[in-house]
């Protein structure tokens, strides 16, 4: 098709929610200021006009109450979508998410389902400082019973959000703040992408970069630079951390023999460690021709100062450097 329709990431998320709400009466949204105001980042702007304040519900400022109400609604047959203004606020909703949402289906022997989607913006880059800029996805990925999704493009966001809404289990859906304004091809008709299927964002032969969220884009830029120096980079975007499509990563590492894992979250205890370990445990080990390299944020709260904020997380040049160290040849 010659004229592919382009949408921003933000519009892709909104379009998915609207399309699902049109076809399924059980789907509704709740969160702080998501009604007339349209949400902290404007994702739900205009939705209250179409769906009314019963289905686009403004809530009090209590993440614990929002999450708790959503878990209850989900267990009674609704399909709630919760918007938390900043993913940092998950800390307040942690008991409801970790102790209730994640475990109820298991503890009720499968008789209770929790078809809940918790959408929340994460990441730095907006000058929102230490309490509004974190990447805490590894915390949620650690909890059995939660699915964790981190789409890097509008196309992936729309397809994966539909899959999340259709899923009978609680899903934490991380949207990177800086990706909201990025544009790309997004089909108009509803479609679903499988949860647990990685995407090869770029083909290459010398080194595999496993990157999540905004790091996918930084890695793609780095790959263009590295290509000029004759280094061919393959980029895998897992898209969903839980379940993780480790097979696609392993196949890529078997092909390239080298791997750099990049995420914005603090490197220590980050999800990159999990990916690195899975690779090392797999049959890809015997194909490794260099140590697995991890690149992540520094162990500091995200600074308010924009220069320091940038310095705290991996940038394109850091990725280039890491790849060069990994493809070391004399």
């Amino acid at each position: 098709m010659s004229t592919q329709r382009e949408l921003t990431y933000l519009e892709a998320v909104r379009e998915c929610m609207s399309q699902e709400m049109r076809v399924n009466e059980d789907v509704f949204i709740m969160g702080e200021d998501i009604g007339l105001y349209g949400g902290a980042f404007g994702v739900t702007r205009g939705m209250i006009e179409e769906f009314g304040n019963e289905r686009v519900r403004n809530t009090p400022i209590s993440e614990a109450a929002i999450a708790g109400a959503a878990v209850g609604a989900a267990m009674t047959g609704m399909r709630p979508i919760v918007e938390l203004q900043f993913s940092d606020f998950i800390t307040i909703a942690t008991d409801q998410i970790v102790n209730q949402a994640a475990k109820n289906r298991y503890m009720f022997g499968g008789k209770g389902k929790v078809p809940l989607v918790l959408r929340t913006p994460s990441g730095s880059g907006t000058g929102a400082a230490a309490q509004h800029s974190q990447s805490l996805e590894a915390w949620m990925a650690h909890i059995p019973g939660l699915k964790v999704i981190q789409p890097s493009t509008g196309y992936d966001a729309k397809g994966l959000l539909k899959a999340a809404i259709d899923d009978d289990n609680p899903v934490i859906f991380y949207e990177h703040k800086l990706l909201y304004r990025t544009k790309g091809y997004v089909p108009e008709e509803p479609y679903s992408l499988p949860i647990g299927k990685a995407d090869i964002k770029r083909q290459g032969t010398d080194v595999t970069i496993v990157a999540t969220a905004i790091m996918v884009h930084k890695a793609l830029q780095a790959a263009v630079e590295l290509e000029k120096e004759g280094i061919s980079v393959e980029i895998i975007d897992p898209r969903t951390l839980v379940p993780l499509d480790i097979e696609t990563i392993i196949e890529s590492v078997k092909k390239t023999g080298r791997v750099v894992v990049v995420h914005e979250a603090v490197k220590r205890g980050g999800f990159g460690g999990e990916i690195a370990s899975l690779i090392a445990e797999s049959e890809a080990f015997d194909y490794l021709d260099a140590p697995i390299k991890r690149l992540g944020g520094k162990s500091v709260p995200i600074p308010y100062n924009p220069v320091l904020e940038k310095a705290a997380i991996p940038q394109e040049r850091d990725i280039i450097q890491a790849v060069k160290e990994t493809v070391f040849r004399r």
Partner: protein, 408 residues
């Protein structure tokens, strides 16, 4: 308390040393001053002595291992005393809590006298797998990765070489032929020479001037002085010393040649220190005859014989090679007439000396045979120009043609 044996720092520029051999084994008794091991620096082999008396408790690095200076390479102490299994990374690690040491003592005793140390081979998993599948011994492959880590590409070369030798009757491809070539890692002296020569050739615009000197008088001088000097010193005067003397005298008069370029400063040297390029196994060293312009031929003979023999035995000390202001490279023992020597940076010129052989030359309207010797002066055009360099070379030629001036 065990005393650490350190990789010595033998010159300002030395950063690492390579262990050549240990003369003692773990468990041997050593006395202060005993030679413990031999170490290779950039250019020389040197014997390292023990600073203490006791038992050699631990050897951390074996043959061919490269160790940064001031790193612990072993321990000497009381028999059975506890020392770390792995070399401490810095001096601070040496101090060990005594109770901790006692706890460790039992384990240590087992490993202390475990016999010859084995060097752990660094190789990537894929290199290990391909080596295993092809029956290649990892230790026999030179690693191109960090710290000599064997990588996939190294093993693939080895596999190709193996299949080449295994099926020498099979038609060979160009790649196999190439892969079968013997590969020797560029390191130690060879590496230093490679780096320095390349750096000199790339940074200094070299111009080489050549001329010939009639060596008739030098031949006379040598044969006259040889018995005297041999009687005085026991060393035989050679043409080299006379050439050194002539060059040193010329340099003293042409101070514009006795200079070094250091960044944007031209440094004029007070002393005339002549480096003599000496071929040794695997390479080349340049011991330095200090203050050569102030020494007589007898003194130069003794000194150059001493340095040459130390050079051949690989026992030159860093100080013997330090401070040169000008280098002479003599290929006179080969059938070489002229060549273009590369300047030994940071010096600014180098003299290449060819063979002495009889050639027909014109003298006062007659063609006569004379022992002629070619002189090739390479100079750094950044610091001097052709005319002064030519004047300097001419001075050398004239001194060699009238060598009695040197005795003045």
């Amino acid at each position: 308390m065990a005393t650490a044996v350190f990789m010595p720092k033998l010159s300002m520029t030395m950063e690492t040393g390579t262990v050549i051999q240990w003369f003692k084994q773990e468990g041997d008794h050593v006395r202060e001053g005993d030679v413990l091991l031999e170490v290779l620096t950039d250019k020389i082999n040197i014997e390292v002595e023990s600073y203490s008396t006791g038992t050699l408790l631990k050897i951390y690095y074996g043959h061919d291992q490269v160790v940064p200076v001031n790193h612990v390479i072993g321990y000497v102490g009381d028999a059975g005393e506890a020392v770390p299994d792995l070399p401490p990374s810095s001096e601070s690690n040496i101090a060990k809590d005594s109770t901790e040491a006692q706890h460790e003592q039992k384990d240590q005793q087992v490993s202390h006298f475990a016999g010859p140390i084995t060097q752990k081979i660094r190789a990537t998993p894929v290199a290990r797998r391909i080596a295993r599948e092809n029956g290649i011994e990892l230790g026999a492959v030179i690693g191109s990765g960090p710290n000599g880590r064997v990588q996939k590409a190294d093993i693939e070369l080895a596999v190709a070489a193996q299949s080449k030798s295994a099926s020498s009757l099979a038609p060979t491809t160009a790649k196999q032929t190439e892969a079968a070539n013997r590969r020797v890692k560029l390191d130690g002296m060879r590496k230093v020479i490679a780096e320095r020569m390349a750096a000199s050739a790339y940074t200094a615009p070299h111009v080489t001037l050549t001329t010939e000197a009639d060596m008739s008088r030098v031949v006379e001088v040598r044969s006259t002085l040889l018995p005297t000097i041999e009687k005085m010193t026991g060393a035989r005067l050679s043409y080299t010393e006379i050439i050194v003397k002539a060059v040193a005298s010329a340099l003293a008069r042409h101070s514009n040649v006795n200079v070094s370029l250091k960044e944007d400063v031209i440094e004029h040297h007070e002393s005339v220190n002549i480096g003599l390029a000496v071929a040794v196994t695997n390479g080349l060293v340049v011991p330095v005859l200090k203050q050569a312009d102030r020494k007589g031929l007898a003194e130069l003979t003794v000194e150059s014989k001493r340095l040459a023999s130390l050079a051949r035995e690989g026992r030159l000390l860093p100080d013997d090679m330090h401070g040169g202001t000008f280098t002479i490279s003599n290929l006179g023992m080969y059938a070489i007439d002229t060549f273009t020597p590369i300047i030994n940076q940071p010096e600014s010129a180098i003299l290449g000396v060819g063979r002495i052989h009889e050639k027909p030359v014109g003298v006062a309207g007659q063609i006569v045979l004379r022992p002629m010797m070619s002189l090739s002066l390479s100079f750094d055009h950044r610091v001097m120009d052709g005319a002064p360099a030519a004047a300097f070379l001419q001075e050398i030629k004239e001194l060699l043609e009238e060598p009695y001036q040197l005795l003045a």
